[in-house]
């Protein structure tokens, strides 16, 4: 196997971790990872030998954004399938981190996960998200304050539209 392919292979477990936390659904996460891999393997000629990890996270983040955009256009909203959510209701103190992450916008969630879960630097996240470092930092700060307020019970639970 070529070095390029070996490096992609080595990144798969981390990509799955990120995709799972980003989408909160195991099946969707692996679908996105698969599409990311297909696109990366097909684009070997586009890879200039930079940071492979940041490149793969960029493709994955863009694919997820496309996916959400398509979903948003559908007239009928599908119920949120959350294979990670606990069955405990909000009254049993089940203000867990999965639900808390759902409170965030896509950009906030992606920035926070790339930093705390994937250990990317602010600079790498700014490349992945295609925004200045200052924007990454304000996304992080907002994400953390949202999560804190939610986990400490200061915010009402999300009301899901049926």
């Amino acid at each position: 196997m070529s070095e390029f392919r070996e490096r992609i292979e080595a990144a798969i477990p981390a990509l799955r971790r990120y995709a799972r936390a980003l989408t909160r659904d195991a099946e969707t996460a692996d679908d996105i990872v698969q599409d990311t891999l297909v696109r990366a393997l097909r684009s070997e000629h586009l890879f200039h030998g930079g940071d492979m990890r940041a490149w793969l996270y960029t493709i994955l983040t863009n694919l997820n954004r496309n996916r959400l955009r398509t979903l948003a256009r559908r007239p009928v909203l599908a119920p949120i399938k959350d294979s990670d959510a606990t069955t405990s209701g909000p009254d049993s103190g089940g203000r867990d981190i999965v639900r808390a992450l759902e409170m965030l916008t896509e950009e906030q969630r992606s920035a926070l996960l790339l930093v705390v879960l994937e250990s990317l630097t602010y600079r790498e996240v700014s490349e992945v998200q295609g925004v200045p470092i200052g924007t990454v930092m304000s996304r992080l700060a907002r994400a953390r304050n949202e999560l804190k307020a939610y986990l400490e019970g200061e915010r009402p639970l999300l009301r899901r539209v049926k």
Partner: protein
């Protein structure tokens, strides 16, 4: 040292938690936290969040990936994109949308040929930009063949601009129906996976400067040059579209007028 020197911002607190602070600011933040219990509590809460996230999802990185994600397998088999169902539903939406557009045009002012080019081009962009496995009919490594074939079918010389300076490589192209007949469609991609397309075909409309239109999250610059309508489409949000369109416009504009044209 005055108090001013010691003021620690929220950004610095975040950078402290993420180990992004230079060493001298690090000790300053630590000193600050020792005397500011509210901020110390916030930092502790942020660290707990990070721990919760890692506890919940960290194990996935040590789990063996399912067989369908094996690189060897993906290379060997010609996998269709998993999310093609999404593309299919998008196509259905677009066809519905196009019908709506046609119905609308009957009852109102007839749109110019160029407007119809822009509309068709954006439909094509939305349809093919999300395609992972089969975005084009002829790939970019066969550029001369691609350009020759499309020129022949369109009935006039078309060209695929060089957009390397904008970080874009030619993915390839395909032949598409257009408002006036066959149209050429070139697709470009940058390393981040963002795609831009150039759509062009014959028109009787007069020459124009660059015009701009948007639909959903996508934008398109379009213009007419020497009886050819051009539409350059791409994502709006990253701000690269204008630069790419300008580069394509400049290159096409510099082409010599064909003999007898």
């Amino acid at each position: 040292m005055t108090d001013r020197d010691w003021i620690v911002t929220e950004d610095e607190l975040n950078a402290y938690v993420d180990d992004e602070l230079p060493a001298d600011r690090r000790s300053a933040v630590e000193a600050w936290l020792a005397t500011h219990p509210d901020d110390a509590a916030r930092v502790a809460a942020w660290r707990r969040q990070a721990d919760l996230i890692r506890e919940r999802y960290g194990h996935l990185a040590s789990e063996a990936p399912p067989a369908r994600l094996s690189v060897e397998r993906l290379v060997r088999r010609r996998y269709r994109p998993v999310l093609s169902a999404v593309a299919a539903s998008l196509a259905a939406f677009l066809i519905g949308g196009a019908a709506g557009w046609t119905a609308h045009s009957i009852h109102s002012e007839r749109p110019s040929e160029l407007t119809r080019f822009a509309s068709d081009a954006m439909v094509a962009y939305r349809l093919y930009a999300v395609e992972v496995r089969h975005p084009v009919e002829v790939t970019g490594d066969q550029r001369p063949h691609l350009v020759q074939w499309l020129s022949k079918r369109v009935g006039a010389p078309v060209q695929a601009p060089e957009l390397d300076k904008q970080g874009l490589k030619l993915v390839g192209g395909r032949l598409l129906p257009g408002p006036t007949g066959p149209s050429a469609f070139f697709m470009y991609e940058n390393p981040a996976g963002e795609r831009f397309t150039l759509y062009c075909g014959h028109t009787n409309d007069r020459e124009t400067a660059l015009r701009y239109t948007t639909r959903d999250q996508n934008g398109a610059y379009y213009w007419v040059d020497q009886n050819m309508a051009y539409v350059l489409s791409g994502p709006m949000e990253t701000g690269k579209l204008h630069e790419v369109a300008q580069a394509a416009y400049d290159q096409i504009d510099r082409q010599p007028v064909p003999q007898g044209g």
